[in-house]
C-alpha cells in the first residue's frame, strides 16, 4: 500500500480522452518518476492529484484519505507540496518573506487573522525561514526581491518553500525544464540531498532522462493517457515497449 494510490482515474476534455484508466501507486519514502512523451497526460494527472482538476472517474487516495473534491489548499494541508514547471514564487516579496509564508501556513493553518501581530511574535517563523534559507544556500540573498533571482535560484527557493511546510509528498513538475546543464545538475544534487536528509516521498514528472535516471527508484511510463509500464529504472531502460513508444522518439 503506497502513500499515494491512484485508481482507475480518467479525464476527458470535450472529445479528447486526456487520461484513460490510470492506476498508480507511489510507495512511501521512494522517488517515483512519471515519464511520457508530450501529450501523454502527465500534467493532467498531476493536476488531478493536487485538486486543480477533478477526474471524471476513479479515486485518488493520499495516506488512506481521498483528495478528490478538496480545494488545492486543503490537499496541501494534507501533506502534498507541488513544485511547478516554471517556478511559482511571490515575485513582489523578498526571498525571506517568500520563505516565511509557508512557515506561517504550517504554524497557523489555512487562515489566521494575525492582522496586527507585532514583529516579536513572528520571531519563531523568521528563525525557521532563515534556517531553511541556510539549507538552500540562499541566506545571502534573503533581502533580494524574489522576482530578480536567477532561474536556478527561483527553483531552489520554490523547493525550499515546499520543504518548509514539511510535506510528506513532494510533487515536482519538470523541475529542470529550461535549465542549463549546470543548473540541472545542481538541482539533481539538491534533490538527492533532500532525499538523504529527510523522510519524504518524491514524485517527479520529467522529460529529461538524465534527471530521471539519476534520481528515480521507480518509473511509470505514460502514453496516450494510460500507463504503459511501471518498473525499476534498470528494467525501463531496456523495455522494448518503452523504447518504441517513447525513447525512440526523443533520441536520448
Amino acid at each position: 500500500m503506497g502513500i499515494l494510490e491512484v485508481k482507475n482515474v480518467g479525464k476527458r476534455f470535450g472529445g479528447l480522452q486526456a487520461l484513460g484508466n490510470v492506476n498508480l501507486s507511489v510507495a512511501e519514502n521512494s522517488v517515483h518518476a512519471i515519464i511520457g512523451p508530450n501529450g501523454a497526460g502527465k500534467s493532467t494527472l498531476l493536476n488531478c492529484l493536487v485538486g486543480k482538476l477533478i477526474p471524471d472517474t476513479g479515486s485518488v487516495m493520499f495516506d488512506g484519505q481521498s483528495v478528490l473534491g478538496r480545494a488545492p489548499h486543503e490537499i496541501n494541508q494534507m501533506g502534498i507540496s507541488r513544485v511547478f514547471q516554471t517556478p511559482e514564487i511571490f515575485g513582489d516579496l523578498s526571498v525571506l518573506e517568500n520563505m516565511m509564508i509557508p512557515c506561517f501556513a504550517k504554524r497557523d493553518g489555512a487562515f489566521e487573522m494575525n492582522a496586527i501581530t507585532s514583529v516579536v511574535s513572528q520571531k519563531d517563523v523568521i528563525a525557521k525561514a532563515e534556517a531553511m534559507l541556510e539549507d538552500m544556500n540562499m541566506a545571502d540573498k534573503r533581502h533580494m526581491h524574489a522576482a530578480s533571482l536567477s532561474r536556478g535560484d527561483k527553483r531552489r527557493l520554490e523547493i525550499g518553500m515546499c520543504l518548509s511546510q514539511e510535506p510528506r509528498l513532494l510533487l515536482l513538475d519538470e523541475p529542470t525544464a529550461g535549465m542549463a546543464r549546470a543548473d540541472t545538475n545542481n538541482t539533481i544534487d539538491l534533490l538527492k540531498q533532500i532525499k538523504q536528509d529527510r523522510d519524504i516521498t518524491i514524485a517527479i514528472i520529467e522529460h529529461d532522462m538524465h534527471v530521471v535516471f539519476s534520481l528515480a527508484e521507480r518509473i511509470t511510463v505514460l502514453a496516450q493517457g494510460t500507463p504503459l509500464v511501471e518498473d525499476s529504472p534498470e528494467n525501463i531502460k531496456g523495455h522494448p515497449k518503452v523504447r518504441e513508444a517513447y525513447l525512440g522518439e526523443t533520441a536520448h
Binding site: 511559482e88 513582489d92 509557508p102 493553518g109 489555512a110 492582522a115
Partner: protein, 401 residues
C-alpha cells in the same frame, strides 16, 4: 515606539506632526493677501483632507495590498453617513455612537458585498463591486427616499425624536453634533499679524481618528496578515499550493477597508450632518481609486497625499474666478494682463476638471509610482541614501513608504 520599527515610527511621527500643525502649514499666506486664495487651512477643507485620507488609507489596504480593485467603495462611505445621520436623528447628537454605528453597518454591508464579489477576481470583481454600489446609489436616490432623503439628502429636522438628547437647541435650532458638549464646529482663531490660523474641534477630532487609522494601517501592512495580502497580489496560485486559502484573507481585507470607508462616512456626517446619495455614485468610488493610484498604491502615505491633492484641486482651484485672476495680474500692462488671464482662465474656476485631468495624465506618465515616487525622486536628488535603509536586517522588505 508603538511596536513599530524605526522607519515606520518616524513616518507616523511625521504624519502626526503634520496633521497637528496643519492649521499653520495650510495657511502660509496672510489673510486678505493676493495669495490667500491658495490657503487651505479652513476647517471644512482640513476636515475633508483627513476624512478622505482615512477613506483612501482603507481603500489601499484592499487595493494596494491584495490588488483587488474595488469600484464600489463609495457605497460603504454612503452607508456609513446614512447610519450616522440616523443615529443623530434617533439617539443623540453625540458623535461617538453615530461613528460606531457607521463602522458597524458599513462592516456588515461589506461582509455581504465582499462575500459575493470575491467569488470573482480581476475586472470581474471590479464590475461586481461597481454594480452593487450603483444599485445602492440608484435606490437611495429614488425608491428609498423615505430612508435616505433621496435627492435632497438625509438631514436633521426639528421634530426628530433624539431620545437621549434635545430635539431643538435653546435658540430653537437643530442641535449640532458634538462630543459630550464640545461642538464639532467650534473653532478658535489665532491672529498673528496679518496671518489668521483656525483651530477647529472637528478637525482635531478627525485628525486624531485619522492618526489612529494610519497607525492601524501600518500595523496591518507590517503584520503577517499584511504579508499574506501582498502574497495574494503577487501569486495567488502559489499561495493556494502553500496550504493557504486566499478567500478569507481577501474578505477580511475587504471588510476592513469597508469599515474604514464607513468610518470616513460617519466622520463626514459628524462634521456636517447631511448625507447625500451622490456620495455613492460611481464617480465617488472612482475618486478614491484615483486618490490611491495618484498618491501611490501600496504605499503607506501615498493615498493620504492623493486624497489631499484631489480635494485641494476641487476646493481651491474651482474657486478661482476671472476677477481674481485680474487681481493677480493687475500690475501687467492692460493688453498683456487680458492675454495672461485669457490663457490661464480655461484651467481654473469652472475649468478645474481640465487641470485635474491634465495632472492625472502628467503624474501617471512621469511618476509611475504616484506622488510618493515624486517625493522619493526629490529625496534622492538631495542625496539621501535610501539604499542603506533598505538593506537593514528588519526581516522584511517594505514597500516604499
Amino acid at each position: 515606539m508603538f511596536a513599530l520599527d524605526k522607519k515606520d515610527a518616524r513616518l507616523l511621527l511625521m504624519v502626526a506632526v503634520l496633521t497637528m500643525l496643519a492649521p499653520f502649514i495650510l495657511n502660509p499666506f496672510p489673510a486678505g493677501s493676493e495669495m490667500a486664495q491658495f490657503n487651505a487651512g479652513y476647517p471644512d477643507l482640513m476636515q475633508r483632507f483627513v476624512i478622505f485620507g482615512i477613506f483612501a488609507i482603507g481603500f489601499n489596504i484592499l487595493f494596494g495590498l491584495t490588488g483587488y480593485l474595488s469600484f464600489g467603495h463609495a457605497a460603504f462611505l454612503g452607508v456609513g453617513s446614512y447610519s450616522a445621520v440616523w443615529m443623530f436623528k434617533l439617539l443623540s447628537m453625540n458623535v461617538l455612537p453615530a461613528i460606531a454605528l457607521s463602522v458597524v453597518v458599513a462592516g456588515l454591508f461589506s461582509v455581504v458585498i465582499g462575500f459575493i464579489s470575491l467569488r470573482r477576481s480581476g475586472i470581474y470583481f471590479s464590475i461586481l463591486t461597481l454594480a452593487f454600489a450603483q444599485m445602492s446609489f440608484a435606490l437611495a436616490y429614488s425608491v428609498l427616499t423615505p430612508i435616505t432623503g433621496g435627492e435632497t439628502g438625509l438631514q436633521l429636522a426639528l421634530d426628530d425624536p433624539r431620545i437621549l438628547d434635545v430635539a431643538a437647541s435653546a435658540t430653537g435650532n437643530i442641535p449640532v453634533p458634538g462630543l459630550f458638549g464640545l461642538e464639532m464646529r467650534a473653532s478658535t482663531n489665532l491672529e498673528l499679524g496679518p496671518w489668521v490660523f483656525t483651530f477647529n474641534v472637528g478637525y482635531y477630532f478627525s485628525a486624531l481618528i485619522m492618526l489612529a487609522a494610519f497607525y492601524l494601517a501600518i500595523r496591518i501592512f507590517r503584520s503577517p496578515f499584511g504579508m499574506m495580502l501582498r502574497a495574494i497580489k503577487s501569486n495567488q496560485q502559489r499561495l493556494n499550493y502553500t496550504g493557504l486559502n486566499a478567500r478569507p484573507y481577501t474578505l477580511a481585507a475587504f471588510v476592513i477597508s469597508g469599515m474604514y470607508a464607513g468610518l470616513a462616512g460617519g466622520l463626514m456626517a459628524a462634521m456636517d450632518p447631511l448625507a447625500g446619495a451622490e456620495r455613492m455614485f460611481w464617480t465617488a468610488s472612482g475618486e478614491v481609486v484615483l486618490m490611491t493610484i495618484l498618491g501611490g498604491a501600496g504605499t503607506l502615505i501615498g493615498p493620504v497625499l492623493g486624497a489631499g491633492f484631489i480635494k485641494y484641486m476641487e476646493n481651491i482651484i474651482s474657486k478661482i474666478n476671472e476677477s481674481i485672476l485680474h487681481q493677480w495680474f493687475y500690475w501687467l500692462p492692460d493688453g498683456l494682463e487680458d492675454f495672461v488671464v485669457a490663457m490661464i482662465y480655461p484651467f481654473i474656476g469652472k475649468g478645474w476638471h481640465l487641470t485635474l485631468g491634465l495632472l492625472f495624465m502628467a503624474v501617471v506618465i512621469f511618476l509611475p509610482g504616484g506622488l510618493v515616487e515624486g517625493g522619493q525622486r526629490i529625496g534622492r536628488m538631495f542625496g539621501r541614501k535610501k539604499s542603506e535603509e533598505k538593506d537593514k536586517p528588519s526581516g522584511k522588505t517594505t514597500p516604499a513608504e
